[in-house]
């Protein structure tokens, strides 16, 4: 069980990191350089939400076997990639909101107050953008931890995550053995949920300043 929990957290955490990092340039374009093309790019990424995880997992598997000589099929990087793609829109929502909190005008002001680029990044950009990035990370992590369909297809052979293990036991009607996995999933998900709740509690107050 500890092994399953470790892998769940590892895959979920990596996916959250990857999708948050991927969302930064898209959000930057959308917020700071608004234009029809950029907006289209941002809007279209939300379409991913409508695509079932199964489809994304199968396309990645197909792509790997057809064009990449089975590269990465049923390996951790591909599973993480699948999660990152599936939950990219969630990351984008969080990152976008956080970048909107730090308009470039604030950085200009900070520099005119005698702060160099690094100091501005640390004293202005980080505190403003940080919570939103953390929120994006949590959202993706939360979703990846409980994801099942794509995981079943792409999980590395011999590895179980909490979700696949839970699914296995309950398929065999072994509800008693399945229960602790479900509990653990809830436990792992509770941490980012708490962080998220705190972030969104603070958000409305800030939004009124602009």
């Amino acid at each position: 069980m500890a092994d399953a929990a470790w892998h769940t957290a590892l895959y979920g955490g990596s996916a959250a990191l990857v999708s948050t990092v991927m969302a930064v340039p898209v959000a930057l374009l959308a917020v700071r350089h608004d234009g029809p093309l950029r907006r289209l790019l941002e809007r279209s990424s939300y379409l991913v939400l409508a695509v079932p995880g199964l489809v994304i997992a199968l396309s990645l598997a197909y792509f790997s076997s057809r064009y990449a000589d089975d590269l990465w099929y049923q390996t951790a990087p591909m599973l993480v990639m699948a999660y990152a793609i599936m939950f990219f829109p969630l990351a984008l929502v969080g990152v976008r909101a956080s970048i909107a909190q730090a308009p470039p005008g604030l950085e200009d002001v900070a520099r005119s107050l005698g702060q160099g680029r690094l100091a501005v990044l640390w004293r202005v950009t980080r505190p403003l953008v940080g919570p939103g990035l953390a929120a994006a990370f949590c959202l993706v992590f939360l979703s990846a931890v409980t994801e099942l369909t794509a995981t079943l297809i792409l999980v590395p052979t011999g590895v179980q995550t909490l979700a696949t293990q839970f699914w296995r036991y309950q398929q065999n009607l072994a509800y008693g053995q399945a229960a602790p996995f479900a509990l653990l999933m809830i436990g792992i998900a509770a941490v980012p949920s708490y962080v998220l709740a705190r972030f969104f509690d603070r958000l409305p107050a800030r939004a009124t300043t602009t």
Binding site: D108, R111, S112, G114, G116, A205, T209
Partner: protein, 372 residues
């Protein structure tokens, strides 16, 4: 750690004391800036004497915000030089970064740091050692001491502007820039905040450049008004100079309401439909008989009772009532004139009036060929 490394060094800090004595201020020479193929500034020359307030007045798109951003160091110019407090900050092969220029900047929306309270906002640019005393002094000066622990979203627009001003003044800058600082405030608040800000700037004695498209604001706040037009300073001078003696007809319309009458020079005076008017600076180079454009400000025209031979007869077309005064449009022959009347004068459309001019006027040679 990085904060200490990038802060202007002690040597710059100590020049502060001597800055009060010398003739420093700001000098801008031949400033050019283009974005792509569009030239925004085409040779701006401007001198701001030390410790005075200069308003840069210009319509939107005249390049005034670009000028301000270049002064702040956010954007390097394409040509020209800028000296602030006796130091060249922009010039050939030279561009001093904004963080070492010692130029305070108050943006249009205030742009307070939303994650910091008022006290921390004001303290942002002050070295740790002087923080306590300096912040208390500025909160006091700007009258926001009781707001020290509020966050920006808990402040009104006027309060936010004061905090932004206190924050800009806190590091004792050589120059403070204000970018349309009152445009986001409603009309009632604007006048009072403007008065307060002017008083604070005078008390601080900091050299100030304020950018605005509002001529009232420019005329009332500044020691010097510089009108920016097509990327150049069309005229710079004391407010009354710019208002009374604009350099050309176009400028007179931009700074205040203007009646421009066709006329000619007769006997050293301007002969117009409003009679023979004395010239403020004499004929000054305008030969007898020259066709001229004459500027008559609406408040120079008096409405008198229509008597035979008394003034120019006309009919009231429209009255724009402002309470303290009203701007009345009067049709006379083929001209319409704007006349400013005191609040107690009520004229309804269709009324017969006569007009007389008081005071001297300004005239420029008419753009067309002189009359024979």
């Amino acid at each position: 750690m990085t904060e200490i490394a990038t802060r202007p060094n002690g040597a710059l800090g100590t020049t502060e004391a001597s800055a009060t004595g010398g003739a420093k201020g700001v000098t801008v020479t031949g400033l050019f800036k283009a974005f792509g193929r569009h030239a925004v500034l085409r040779g701006v020359d401007l001198a701001v004497p030390d410790g005075t307030v200069t308003a840069i007045l210009g319509p939107s798109g005249s390049g005034k915000t670009t000028l301000l951003r270049i002064l702040a160091g956010f954007v390097p110019p394409d040509g020209g030089t800028i000296c602030i407090g006796g130091t060249e900050v922009d010039g050939p092969q030279r561009h001093v970064a904004p963080e070492v220029r010692r130029v305070g900047y108050v943006p249009q929306e205030g742009s307070l740091f939303p994650h910091l309270d008022v006290e921390a906002n004001v303290a942002f640019g002050v070295p740790r050692a002087q923080r306590r005393a300096k912040v208390a002094e500025l909160l006091e000066m700007t009258g926001i001491s009781e707001l020290a622990h509020r966050y920006p979203h808990q402040l009104s627009g006027g309060q936010q502007q004061r905090v932004a001003l206190a924050r800009a003044l806190a590091p004792s800058p050589s120059l403070v820039l204000l970018d349309e600082p009152f445009s986001s405030l409603d009309a009632a608040l604007r006048a009072s905040v403007r008065l307060d800000v002017t008083a604070i700037l005078r008390q601080a004695g900091t050299t100030t450049v304020i950018v605005t498209h509002d001529q009232d604001e420019a005329l009332s706040m500044a020691d010097q008004v510089a009108v920016l037009r097509h990327g150049q300073v069309a005229q710079a001078g004391r407010p009354e100079q710019v208002y009374d003696r604009p350099v050309d007809a176009d400028l007179s319309r931009f700074v205040g309401e203007a009646n421009l009458l066709a006329g000619s020079i007769r006997g050293g005076r301007a002969d117009t439909i409003l009679g023979s008017l004395p010239l403020m600076d004499g004929p000054s180079g305008l030969a007898e008989g020259t066709a001229v454009l004459v500027l008559v400000r609406p408040e120079q025209i008096q409405v008198v009772a229509p008597t035979p031979g008394g003034g120019l007869a006309g009919i009231v077309r429209h009255s724009d009532y402002h309470g303290h005064d009203s701007l009345v449009t009067v049709a006379t022959g083929n001209e319409t004139l704007n006349v400013r009347c005191t609040g107690s004068t009520h004229l309804s459309p269709g009324a017969d009036v006569a007009l007389e001019v008081t005071g001297a006027v300004v005239a420029w040679a008419a753009p067309t060929t002189p009359a024979p």
